[in-house]
């Protein structure tokens, strides 16, 4: 069956950036990215792209569209999903959608998905590494009136719908839904593939579709913040080193265990 998969992907500050390398603008309450450290595609979103590619490989006829909303896109970063094997990239690139809260992001993505029109499966990373809210996929599902299954470590699509192994802390549960549906993907699905040179060359011949907010039909009211950010700061962490010395190694271990229990770490 022909399957249209949309993968929502977000450009984020590289989470490997050391805290000392970037700063926070206290006036705008935004992170100022570090010089010379390019952004990346959110890691869980790359897992979602990988999931889409696996579904495509198992399917006779599937198309993968990667969708992102934001501003200041770095094209060699955002084209990575295309280099991995996705078919097309759509960017809603507008300052109006550059600094949205989760509700605004979900709204913008949902409207863009409506504009795309045909979709069977919407895949998202389980959360984005900048805010870690994990709210946007649920918002998309709510706005579009779709079922949503979160934290998929395995996903299969059949004529009956989508079957997901949903990761739990002590295993997984199998959840099924009819299509269309929203599914969020976790890293347990497996490492996203590296773009091969051939993939990069193929992607270089594809031109992303770029829409502004008005083309997607987004109004200022739809995008207004529902969350108030009161403060944004880099936490100061103090490190204390305490040597635990017992009568022998076993005693030291026992004392360490007691200490950890006191700290409610075990």
């Amino acid at each position: 069956m022909a399957l249209n998969i949309i993968v929502c992907a977000k450009q984020v500050v590289d989470p490997e950036t050391p805290a000392s390398a970037f700063r926070i603008d206290p006036d705008t309450k935004q992170v100022v990215p570090a010089q010379g450290i390019p952004p990346v595609v959110n890691g869980f979103d790359e897992n979602a792209v990988e999931a889409a590619l696996q579904i495509k490989e198992a399917s006779s006829d599937a198309t993968i569209t990667v969708l992102s909303v934001g501003s200041g896109f770095v094209m060699d970063v955002m084209k990575k999903p295309l280099s991995m094997g996705a078919d097309q990239l759509i960017l809603v690139d507008d300052p109006a959608v550059g600094n949205l809260d989760a509700f605004g992001t979900a709204t913008a993505l949902a409207e863009a998905i409506r504009k795309i029109g045909e979709y069977d499966l919407i895949l998202c990373g389980r959360q984005a590494s900048d805010w870690d809210n994990a709210m946007v996929p649920l918002g998309i599902a709510e706005i579009l009136g779709l079922p949503c299954i979160t934290i998929a470590q395995k996903i299969e699509v059949s004529d009956d719908g989508v079957t997901v192994h949903k990761a739990l802390s002590d295993g997984y549960e199998v959840v099924k839904a009819e299509l269309p549906a929203v599914v969020t993907i976790t890293n347990e699905l497996g490492e996203p593939r590296y773009p091969t040179l051939r993939g990069i060359m193929t992607a270089s011949r594809k031109t992303p579709t770029v829409w502004d907010a008005s083309e997607v039909g987004l109004s200022h009211d739809q995008l207004s913040h529902k969350l108030d950010l009161t403060e944004l700061y880099i936490p100061v962490s103090d490190t204390e080193c305490e040597f635990i010395e017992g009568e022998d190694d076993a005693d030291s271990g026992r004392l360490l265990a007691l200490k950890l229990r006191e700290a409610r770490l075990i």
């Binding site: 010379g36 390019p38 094209m75 060699d76 970063v77 084209k79 990575k80 280099s83 590296y194 773009p195 091969t196 040179l197 051939r198 990069i200 060359m201 992607a203 270089s204």
Partner: protein, 385 residues
Amino acid sequence: MLDYGQVLDLLTDDERQVQSTARDFLDAEAMPGITDAWEKGEFPRDLIPKLGEMGYLGANLPSEYGTAGVNNMSYGLLMYELERIDSGLRSFASVQGALVMYPIYSYGSEEQKQNYLPKMASGEMIGCFGLTEHEGGSDPGAMKATARKDGESYVLNGSKMWITNGNIADVALVWAKDDGGVVCGFLVPTDTPGFVANEIKHKLSMRASVTSELVMDDCRIPASQMLPDVRGLRGPLSCLTQARYGIAWGALGALEAVYEDALAFSKTRSTFGKPIASRQLVQTKFVDMVSDHTRGMLLAWRLAILKDQGKLNYSLVSLAKRDNVRAALLAARSAREILGGSGIVLDHPSIRHMLNLETVDTYEGTHDIHTLILGRDITGENALE
């Protein structure tokens, strides 16, 4: 990527993606095992099919034979990233791509291209390049290896020395003189009777690379195994220009590796109550490293543009190979010095790169030979002979 001169800004989106992907891939797949492989004196062969799958073998050759067909900027960036891991890894890719696949593509018959290039691009087949002989590599015209025509065969005799990939190769591109004394290239399957590869042991450099002696004793191959479209030293020398281009990029990767490690060390290592990074003598070393790297990157970038335009002169490649490799070698020595006692163990990459770079400074034209190539080009006077 160390990019003090903001050279990345001069690249295309695709070129930047090639670099960042190669770094991610190699950091994950190659970096974790490289020190162990070097210490054991083993080439990490498990990487070969992965390099092939990524398209990193013969990457700048046109895509019609299973190669990736990237431009020379991307190819240079790949060499940079490979040598940032280890010179042995870059050497493997240089030999496979620049010294064997390139001449097959440029001088081979259609049948040879079909037979070898797709399998070499995937890593299914490995090649080596036999030019240097026991009595020196700087004067290849004095080679003693011969290829005697006998009916529809050539019979090869002689030996080659310091051959990267020799013992793991499926095919050796051997340069030998025909009955008329003209240097020709022969594709010798390494399972041909009379062909033997002897691995050179006890190396204290390029330990994560296979280095061999090739011996041919009445080694009979079909005449169709000769590269038909090149005769004379122009053939092997043109291959060396390709490889030296990659080395000019690769050495900068090694430079970055030793610089980054020493810089991080200097910020945590204190003497007399202050990090050694605050000491003027240490800062001088870092400034020299960054200056050399920045200059080298701008030169490599220019080289790539000229190469893609078909305007690259071999003497400029000599200049870049000579300068960038020597800069990397000096940087590795400085980095090792900054590390103090820690610099002599393999926990830090400096001494591994330093020892590797002694080879890189020597092979593919020694530092001195490149000096004389440039001297000849500048003055018009040949000091080589």
